[in-house]
Homo-oligomer: 260 residues x 2
DNA sequence: CGATGACTTGACTGCTGTCAACGTGCGTGG
DNA sequence: CCACGCACGTTGACAGCAGTCAAGTCATCG
């Protein structure tokens, strides 16, 4: 089962540390992040409240369920899994997040985190204190809109997940998962054909509501069909159209989901 | 299989038409709706942009997928199902909504409705033009917060649904569904022990990602166990604790989900 | 009162979860 | 540098449950 390992430069190389101090305007992720659509001066004011480059080691938490909600976080590098632990002690993974994405939104309503965000790899984050962000939003209409859109987008993403996890069969879920991650990688500037999954098979299975073995079997099935090339946690997409067909994707407004 | 029909006054009697013109402050649903937390004067300004009492006949649409997004709608009476139709023509029900709840939030990000909202019964709605609401929100910080919380709550609700539909077994899904609807009825002032479901079995099945027959079987099973009493679309809850146990509910922050 | 659609119940099949064994890669320590 | 151990991943066997198909019952409305 040894195969030509899909070797993409992707994010094996973490963001250069020297870049951690750059301004939002110069950040390679700025198009994905909050500043979108802001004027020069407004951007300045926003930047003043953001603290950049907070590092989080793999396995550590960005925030824990039960923590008071203080900030949103923008991921600069690394990836995050967000999960909920119920009273029985089962954990249920709600989402994975890649650089350029903003996490913490779900806590705005309650003021308390109900979910836990854990680093799948070493992270670097930008912290956006919410009270100040909120105050600023009342002064900068564009920022206000950006916040609303951010949350509305979250709703859309979750709707997609509801459909996938309640109406799709295992093969469709796995294919969809690969496509989704690929698409989001592409937004970050990666190839899109190649992706490195930061999470274990069990995490994927949990996220998709499947058994670990089912995910594994589907991956080998997709590989045997020639649609993808799997090597450990690296996946190369060989036949995008076939995968799309497999996922049951037709003409959904995909560009609206993780891009702005 | 004929049974003592659970006869609750609930919303068999629709809201008195004469009440449709009342101000938000006098509306029995005001605690569930936007005005929450607003000052006297602010409420006035908000009310001026709301048009009240738009009727929608059962089976008609409040908005259609593809429509331009113009307004949010608060439900005054009746119930709504919101669904998505994919390119294969399959419809997938995303949510049901009861009086006091606000629909349309998911379209804010894109500016276009991606879902269709259809009346399960005759409806009366309040329309909240979004551009004016949005403008007002920049002037009234509390309204701005209320909008954010509204959307964040939507995120929480959908998270719950993701968990239920991807991690729970059929018996848990059905039990959970009954509890959820009951809880939301209770917020509207109904008994909570009795509820009338406006939707068909097929709708419930679609929503929960199950086969129609599975829903039916689970309902009869719950009835045979003595937890509930089913009579057509009326359901009476006989043993709340047993149902909760069945649903796998333990100590989730339930009060944060549909209440403010 | 009949027709139509909604719901229930039954029989059966296929798929997915579970359990279990085996393979593989990686890091550690000798 | 190699050997070992451990965690992760894959593969196989099997059983149970949910989906499908089909028939039958019930409610609603003209």
């Amino acid at each position: 089962m040894k195969s030509t390992s899909p070797s993409c430069p992707s994010h094996g190389s973490v963001v250069d540390l020297s870049s951690l101090r750059v301004a939002c305007a110069d950040c390679s992720l700025s198009e994905l992040c909050v500043p979108l659509g802001l004027e020069e001066g407004d951007l300045d004011r926003l930047e003043r409240i953001i603290s950049r480059g907070r590092p989080v080691a793999r396995g550590s938490r960005v925030y824990d369920a039960g923590d008071a909600f203080r900030s949103l976080y923008a991921i600069r590098s690394g990836s995050v899994k967000i999960y909920r632990t119920d009273a029985e002690g089962d954990t249920q993974i709600m989402s994975f997040h890649l650089p350029g994405e903003i996490i913490g939104v779900e806590a705005i309503a309650t003021g308390t985190h109900t979910l836990t965000a854990e680093a799948l790899e070493d992270l670097s984050l930008c912290e956006l204190p919410f009270d100040r962000l909120d105050t600023l939003a009342t002064q900068i209409p564009n920022l206000h809109h950006q916040l609303l859109r951010l949350m509305s987008r979250e709703v859309l993403i979750e709707q997609e997940q509801i459909i996938v996890s309640s109406h799709r069969k295992p093969e469709q879920r796995v294919a969809h998962f690969i496509l989704m991650m690929s698409e989001r990688s592409r937004l970050r500037g990666c190839d899109g054909r190649c992706l490195r999954l930061g999470m274990r098979r069990g995490d994927i299975a949990n996220y998709l509501g499947l058994a670990l073995e089912t995910v594994s079997r589907q991956l080998t099935r997709l590989q045997q069909a020639g649609w993808i090339q799997v090597s450990n946690r690296d996946i190369e997409i060989l036949d995008l159209d076939a995968l799309r067909a497999e996922a049951g994707i037709t003409a959904s407004p995909r560009e609206n989901r993780h891009a702005s």
